[in-house]
């Protein structure tokens, strides 16, 4: 059984990617499709999760002319997505991995931290906070939903310097936090295409059924194979 398959949607409208997530979630639930990692970038969009407060949108209407705003069912407050990020939507059946939200969220962060290490960027967690940070600046944000122990939504990693400005239109995650990106630490331009494969490989390292220690989960996995 493959760990998960990968679907690269490239630069895609948020609504289309959202519809694709729903479609794959339904197929995974019906066992018509294996767990799938969607990777993509979005045209500018602001999303509000379940804890999202509209007062965390700092932009005026004129500034929002070319930016969609969407309320969605993921956890967390507010974030921005743009073409300078890699956004990863793991639609994973945790019955086949581990039924543990904490394990899954930390696995997403670990994958990104490990990926950044490969670029000589020291990403880390901040105690009590989610996401990936470089000291006090945030480089990756996450928020997920789980239905029937199948995940959707996910984690976004900021790559391009020229897409950071739009974070000033919001209070990211409802906090007064400074956002950063990989290019700021590399000191050179980097293309999203050139790093996708490496990032996917880190997801495979850090979100693997083989790391599960519980017999109960192994049993569930065997059931899934029937």
């Amino acid at each position: 059984m493959k760990q998960f398959s990968v679907l690269d949607l490239g630069l895609v409208d948020f609504d289309l990617a959202y519809a694709k997530q729903k479609e794959i979630h339904s197929a995974v639930k019906s066992r018509l499709q294996e767990s799938t990692l969607i990777i993509c970038s979005h045209h500018p969009v602001i999303t509000l999760g379940r804890q999202g407060k509209e007062e965390n949108i700092l932009a005026d209407l004129a500034q929002l002319q070319n930016i969609k705003v969407r309320k969605i069912e993921r956890g967390g407050d507010i974030t921005y997505h743009g073409p300078g990020q890699i956004t990863c939507y793991p639609i994973f059946d945790l019955n086949c991995f581990k039924k543990d939200i904490h394990w899954f969220l930390r696995g997403l962060e670990e994958a990104v931290i490990n990926f950044l290490t490969g670029l000589n960027i020291a990403g880390q967690r901040q105690p009590g906070l989610s996401g990936v940070w470089i000291r006090e600046r945030k480089i990756a944000s996450l928020g997920i939903s789980i239905k029937n122990w199948i995940t959707f939504h996910g984690i976004s990693l900021n790559i391009k310097r020229n897409d950071l400005g739009n974070f000033k239109l919001i209070r990211p995650c409802g906090m007064d936090v400074e956002m950063t990106c990989a290019e700021e630490y590399l000191g050179r331009d980097i293309s999203i295409e050139e790093i996708k494969e490496c990032l996917v490989s880190k997801f495979k390292e850090h979100l693997t059924p083989g790391r599960i220690g519980s017999a109960g989960v192994r049993l569930l996995r065997e059931e899934a194979l029937v």
Binding site: E73, S130, N148
Partner: protein, 78 residues
């Protein structure tokens, strides 16, 4: 009567907030229908109905904090 119990959500997750009930008391539900959505810091989690039946009691309202092991609702199986 089937008690709908909040399962363990993961290591270190000791509470969640009831964010949305998909049904109200006396509604009919199907097995595996989304019953209630719970929210933790960075995740929302939908608890499905364990059986087909009528919801006879909802124990917590939206906005309430709940812990794994607590009974969220009671369903009269049919």
């Amino acid at each position: 009567m089937i008690k709908v119990v909040l399962p363990e959500l993961g290591e270190g997750i000791q509470k969640a907030t009831v964010s949305y009930w998909y049904f109200k008391e006396n509604d009919q539900v199907g097995e595996k229908d989304d019953l209630v959505e719970l929210t933790t810091d960075k995740a929302t989690f939908n608890l499905p109905s364990p059986c087909k039946g009528r919801i006879s009691e909802i124990m917590y309202r939206e906005g309430d904090t709940v812990e794994p092991g607590q009974i969220l609702a009671v369903i009269e199986e049919n």
